[in-house]
């Protein structure tokens, strides 16, 4: 029961203890990645609620414009190209971070940022055009659901871009430390998950909206 006994035990077990510490350090990346994966799945569940709301309200146009009148598919194609390529360059950046290659990491992160920024610019331009036509989020239930769903994805991309800049600054200031690499792992997961949600968005909202 005494503290001295516990200390003695700790001293005897010095070898297994360091072994255990090393294992814990190795598994930390797995635990962090798994936890962040759970968060991403919960984020996807939240998006599924917005998708369900959109799907339910897609025909509730209240005499206003429908998706077929509003959507410009070539704009959507450009947005899709930007986000898909940025997902690819984000993959290159995470390879570069794991291999400690500065040129790969900084180059790919810069391209990822610019592509993400181009995506946001295209989306903001599209939204501004809708509002200028009198098709803002207050026009109909369909447009409320549209702006909520697509805007929520846009907010995620904005947050991702800020996180991207933070990761570049942290690698620049602190180097490829294990904790920084774990954050980079989470960031790349986040960015790829945003692209998965965009696949659902352009298929269900834009392409089905134009096709139906």
């Amino acid at each position: 029961m005494s503290g001295a006994g516990a200390t003695a035990g700790g001293l005897h077990a010095a070898q297994p203890a360091t072994e255990h510490v090393r294992d814990a350090l190795v598994s930390k990346r797995i635990v962090v990645g798994y936890g962040f994966w759970i968060f991403l799945l919960s984020d996807i569940v939240m998006f599924s609620a917005f998708f369900a709301a959109y799907q339910v309200l897609v025909n509730a146009t209240a005499g206003g414009p429908s998706g077929r009148d509003l959507f410009d598919i070539s704009n959507t194609a450009l947005e899709t190209a930007c986000l898909l390529l940025s997902s690819f360059t984000c993959g290159i950046a995470s390879i570069g971070a794991q291999a400690h290659r500065g040129s790969w990491f900084y180059g790919a992160m810069t391209v990822t940022f610019l592509l993400g920024l181009a995506f946001l610019g295209l989306e903001a331009h599209e939204f501004a055009g809708f509002v200028a036509q009198g098709a803002g989020p207050t026009r109909s239930a369909f447009l409320s659901a549209f702006f909520t769903l697509v805007g929520c994805h846009g907010i995620h991309v904005t947050g991702g871009l800020l996180w991207l800049l933070t990761m570049m600054a942290q690698v620049f200031a602190k180097g490829y430390r294990p904790d920084i690499l774990r954050r980079m792992l989470c960031f790349s997961l986040f960015w790829h998950a945003l692209d998965i949600i965009w696949v659902g968005l352009f298929s269900i909202v834009y392409l089905m909206g134009v096709a139906s």
Partner: protein, 129 residues
């Protein structure tokens, strides 16, 4: 990275197992993924506007293509695979997919029934007027 020697451990999602020391080798996974994703995206955009196929089949085709592309992203970009060290990640994904399907299909099902049972809106307006 001493987890390479052990036969069966968990991997973190998104973690690229070091194929070799050269990052060029790891790049091939992302290149395959990008190629497949571009292919599926182009087919989606083509199908949405084509008049060559039976029109009611288009939404179904788009949904199938979207699910396929999400699968491509999961395997080649997030590295969620069917490997034995990926069990926990796949189980979490399966649970997530279950909730997503329940929310979306459940909502559409219930609201479609409500719409079916409700009086058409123009008749409601006429009764009020």
């Amino acid at each position: 990275m001493s987890d390479v020697h052990a036969g069966r451990e968990d991997t973190a999602p998104g973690y690229e197992r070091p194929v070799g020391e050269e990052p060029e080798a790891a790049l091939s996974t992302y290149l395959i993924g990008l190629g497949l994703a571009v292919l599926l995206t182009v087919v989606s955009f083509f199908i949405a506007r084509t008049t060559l196929v039976w029109q009611p089949s288009i939404p179904v085709a788009l949904a199938v293509l979207a699910v396929a592309q999400m699968g491509v992203h999961l395997v080649f970009f997030l590295h969620i695979t069917t490997g034995p060290d990926n069990e926990n990640n796949v189980l979490a994904l399966a649970f997530g997919v279950l909730i997503v399907l329940l929310v979306i299909i459940g909502s559409m099902w219930i609201i479609a029934h409500l719409n079916h049972n409700m009086m058409p809106m123009d008749q409601v307006m006429r009764m009020q007027g």
